[in-house]
């Protein structure tokens, strides 16, 4: 018998018991659709994390200054300024893997417009900061190098601040706001950035030249940077190289002995993203393996029904053997029946899984990402389930003695 004939005989046999065949295959349908939906949900969450990290800027390193120790209390990174303005210049000049480096000085203060006020984060930055964050202005003009040099009292507002002070879709460029009793001219509005991976509103922010920040908002030692240095690597492959170059450069500049601890620290956003995504991977595989268990249960259901079928059709097997079916013809017939059940279940399961995933995406606004390789794996796995669980009943059928099978009532 050729494979097409075997398949036709198998499908006819399955269609004789439509309800039973459907119920048998339901286990596989549920298993496969669960695997696909679960992986789609996990992948969707991963994609969302990647997206939000991307919104924080790509290939970013954050250099923090060292910690203070006073009276046995260690203050944590950034509590003691160790990074100097010269360090920043050196990073810009000497680290080949670095594209941009910018200071970011932060403080909280109230911003007052003519009739509103809003407490927000005030940031003193240089023009490179916006390149690092890939963050253009939506209207007006950005902070320029001449603003830095002149220490001009200008600000660029984030979207949330604009909304709180002037109402939605207002354009405050040209207006004056007061921060710490100094008037600042609004020269631009930053584009909307959304939330960070940690759920922080990145648009609730005011930017000004770092020189102005130091003069008017929060003074400090002229030599040290009272904040952090943001660095972007030349490319995604250069992040680690940049980290190494900055480490070596700063250790050298701060005269730290080979065995000594760094008096600064470098945070790698890519590493943070990888860690978060690995966590999600674990959850995804956990969900998928729970779903795979139901696929296994579906396989057992197939085996059960195939065993019943072999017993019920013993006489048919005897007749087929009497007219010349070889053991392997009988084996093939029952194996293909099991395979047809499981593959049918697999295909319906894929459709149902995709449907379930897109339903979740639409109605629960849950991010989903359907992976083609998971579909292929799920369908082949269901096929494998068919072979594994169909083999024993099929072998049992093929080993029947034709005389006994013919006498079977």
């Amino acid at each position: 018998m050729n494979p097409i004939q075997v398949l036709r005989v198998a499908i006819r046999a399955l269609l004789r018991n439509k309800m039973r065949s459907f119920l048998t295959t339901l286990g596989v349908i549920i298993g496969v659709s669960a695997v696909i939906a679960m992986v789609a949900i996990g992948e969707g969450a991963k994609a969302r994390v990647a997206e939000s990290f991307a919104s924080m800027g790509s290939n970013i390193l954050i250099v923090l200054s060292g910690s203070t120790t006073s009276g046995g209390t260690r203050g944590g990174f950034g509590s003691m300024p160790t990074l100097t303005w010269d360090d920043l210049k050196a990073i810009r000049a000497e680290s080949s893997a670095v594209r941009y480096a910018a200071p970011q000085l932060r403080s909280s203060a109230s911003v007052i417009s003519e009739d509103q006020n809003w407490g927000t984060s005030i940031n003193g930055v240089s023009p490179e900061f916006f390149s690092i964050k890939d963050w253009p202005v939506a209207s007006g003009s950005p902070i320029t190098q001449s603003d830095i040099e002149g220490g001009t009292k200008v600000v660029v507002l984030g979207q949330t601040v604009v909304e709180k002070l002037y109402g939605p879709s207002a354009d405050p460029v040209g207006q004056t706001v007061r921060i710490k009793n100094f008037p600042f001219q609004v020269i631009g509005v930053a584009a909307a950035k959304g939330q960070t991976a940690m759920g922080q509103d990145q648009d609730d922010v005011v930017f000004m030249p770092y020189s102005t920040f130091q003069a008017k908002i929060q003074g400090g030692l002229q030599k040290f940077i009272p904040g952090i240095i943001m660095v972007s690597a030349a490319s995604s492959g250069d992040v680690e190289r940049a980290e190494k170059q900055i480490t070596n450069l700063l250790r050298d500049r701060h005269h730290i002995a080979i065995s000594g601890d760094d008096d600064f620290s470098i945070r790698n956003l890519t590493e943070m993203m990888t860690a978060q995504q690995e966590g999600l991977n674990t959850i995804t595989s956990l969900l998928a393996s729970i779903a795979a268990v139901s696929l296994l249960v579906g396989g057992i259901g197939i085996m059960n029904i195939m065993l019943v079928s072999v017993t019920e059709r013993t006489r048919e097997i005897g007749i087929r053997m009497a007219v010349g079916a070889r053991p392997r013809d009988v084996l093939a017939q029952f194996l293909v029946e099991a395979l047809a059940l499981s593959c049918f279940g697999g295909i319906i399961g894929v459709l149902l899984g995709i449907f379930a995933a897109s339903w979740l995406a639409n109605h629960l606004s849950w991010p989903v990402l359907i992976r083609a390789d998971i579909i292929v794996i799920a369908v082949s796995f269901s096929g494998l389930v068919g072979v594994v669980f169909g083999l024993y009943p099929a072998l049992k059928a093929s080993r029947l003695d034709p005389i006994d099978a013919l006498r079977f009532e």
Binding site: N2, E316, G324
Partner: protein, 248 residues
């Protein structure tokens, strides 16, 4: 007559039933020539069914040799036996053994499916076989839509569709009334005239009279083996007799 189709020498068959050994066949030697029609008779337990199973390549003897068309069968494996059943033999059973919910045509096509014929060829030959047994107008009927005689004709068509050398019939008229039995025997005799060798297992002496030779088995041995004058199955006479007895 012609050459020996079946040549059996000292075959024995022993079954194990727990600790007890059952000697179904003790020592049987038999030669059947091409074109013969042989009725195997005997009481139940005489070994006639065992003999039929071995001659029909459904079973292998415990000892002895069995040549079918010159080929030693007693040592063949299950696949080779299946091939012989498919190509050389045709079976007809007492209970018809047709596949339920399957049309007459598809039932008859079944052996050809395992012979690896194309769908078109299977269809053509199955239709011819059904026409030969007089069921050309019922090829799409299912077994439950047919009378016992018609079902047995389908079974005969299935047995002869592969053009076998030997047809093995196990109590083929056991489930049929006497008039239909005569019709079936007439069909067998017609097949016999075309050269098919017939091996008929029966316990009805009336049916055995339609064979050219009667082998009587007893306790796993051949008791008598004699040639006889064939009684030609007369369908018209059987019909008249049935009418006289008031059977419609």
């Amino acid at each position: 007559m012609a050459t020996a189709l079946i040549e059996v020498k000292h075959i024995a068959k022993v079954y194990r039933m727990g600790d007890v050994e059952v000697h179904a066949l003790r020592d049987v030697t038999l030669t059947i020539s091409e074109g013969e029609s042989v009725a195997v008779m005997g009481p139940s337990g005489s070994g006639k069914s065992t003999l039929m199973n071995i001659l029909g390549c459904l079973d292998r003897p415990t000892s002895g040799s069995y040549h079918l068309v010159g080929e030693e069968v007693s040592t063949l494996d299950r696949n080779a036996l299946a091939r012989l059943r498919n190509r050389t033999l045709g079976f007809v059973f007492q209970s018809f053994n047709l596949l339920a919910r399957t049309s007459a045509l598809e039932n008859v096509e079944l052996p050809l499916l395992y012979a690896g014929l194309s769908g078109r060829e299977r269809h053509k030959r199955a239709r011819e076989a059904l026409e030969r047994v007089g069921l050309g107008d019922r090829i799409h009927h299912h077994p439950n839509q047919m009378s016992g005689g018609q079902q047995q004709r389908v079974a005969i068509a299935r047995a002869l569709v592969t053009h076998p050398r030997l047809m093995v019939a196990d109590e083929p008229t056991g489930n049929l009334d006497s008039r239909t039995s005569v019709e079936i025997m007439a069909l067998f005799q017609e097949l016999g005239r075309s050269g098919i060798t017939l091996l008929l297992v029966t316990h009805e002496p009336d049916i055995a009279r339609y064979a050219s030779r009667v082998v009587v088995m007893r306790d796993g041995l051949v008791q008598t083996d004699r040639q006889q004058t064939v009684l030609v199955a007369d369908v018209a006479a059987a019909a008249a007799e049935a009418a006289a007895a008031g059977i419609p």
